[in-house]
């Protein structure tokens, strides 16, 4: 139930943003992410963006799995 999908912010219109993942486009509320901007990836849960995806941290995680672990 706490399912969240990473989606890319295409455009922002006030408290809402157009986001997309693959062929899917949705309008989601972004009031809980005050600093979000177009191009960011966000986790979408039941019509709300609940957190930004940190792209550097994502790279680090993959690098760690590949190189160190």
């Amino acid at each position: 139930m706490c399912l969240g999908i990473p989606m890319k912010v295409k455009s922002i219109n006030g408290d809402f943003a157009q986001v997309e993942s693959g062929q899917l486009t949705r309008t989601v509320n972004i009031q809980m992410l005050p600093k979000v901007k177009a191009g960011d990836y966000v986790i979408v849960h039941v019509g709300f963006a609940i957190e930004k995806v940190d792209c550097q941290k994502a790279e680090q995680t993959l690098k760690l799995i590949y190189e160190i672990h």
């Binding site: 986790i43 019509g47 995806v53």
Partner: protein, 363 residues
Amino acid sequence: MKYIDEFRRKNLIQRLSLKIKEITPQGEVKIMEVCGTHTQSFFRFGLGGFLPPNIRLICGPGCPVCVSTQDYIDQAIQVSQEKNTIIATFGDMLRLPGSRSSLEREKAQGADVRVVYSTLDSLRLARHNPEKKVVFLAVGFETTASTIALSVILAKQEKLRNLFFHSSLKLMPPALAHLLKDKRLNLDGLLCPGHVSAIIGLIPYNFIPRKFALPCCVAGFEPLDILEGVYMLLRQINSNNPRVDNQYSRVVTRKGNLAASKVIREVFQTTSASWRGLGEIPGSGLKIKSQFSEFDAKRVFSLPKNRLAFSAQQKSCRCADILKGLITPGECGLFSGACTPDHPIGPCMVSKEGTCSIYYKYR
């Protein structure tokens, strides 16, 4: 798709699987995955095949539909029978058996029950049906609570007078504290829920290593996330140094989403809550604050508190033990015989994230 595909890379999964085998200690290692979405991913991607046989993953109480009480469903069913009322709910709640009916059965008999994707849809329903009362069934953990809290604020700003929220929202850390007191569990590690943690951060888990000396790790939901979470737990177990690790650092920060936490605190206050299987846990629920009481379904509808009698079948249902991680579905006499996804008797067979439903699907 970005941030999905790269965390499903086969070569990295195999690599991590080998590394896990290298560091797995002897004897049974019991790890509880708290979140139903973790359970679902674990089976969907067949991750059991990438772990040594002595690592046992145990499902926890992290499915909000499954831990909803019989009282709550019976109340929702009663409200659905009132005239000029629309029930708005997430789809998983529809088939949950109450004492004598389910919302699905009430809908078939004419009740106005609408499945919605988001709480925002319930605002739309209220706006378009001003002559009706719309009641949203607010179930979920911190992740969903933030979205519902914000919806209550938006409803107030919009001065909607016909929208009500029936809260059964629950908080994860108090439930974990309650669960870990049960010595029968005897866990070696805890895989903590990624999206609850996106909201609350890492600090609320500190009591787990401190008080229970139990390793824990917040993990994401893709195959590499779950395997790396297990790997990080094994490292903690081997070094005998329990702490709160964060595998899901691309989404979860130490303090969580402060704006989301603030919204939850603005609308809700903590209260004692009943969990199916775990019983009454102080401070583990969220109720609407008096400033927003005009949106509280409990204030507007008279809701029955006394549980109706269980049927004989319901009495032999062992969802309670499954939610505590004490047994697996196969140990329940009803599983896959009397209780199937088509004819669920207990809540764990209803929700797509319910342990029994997942075991049934992938058995």
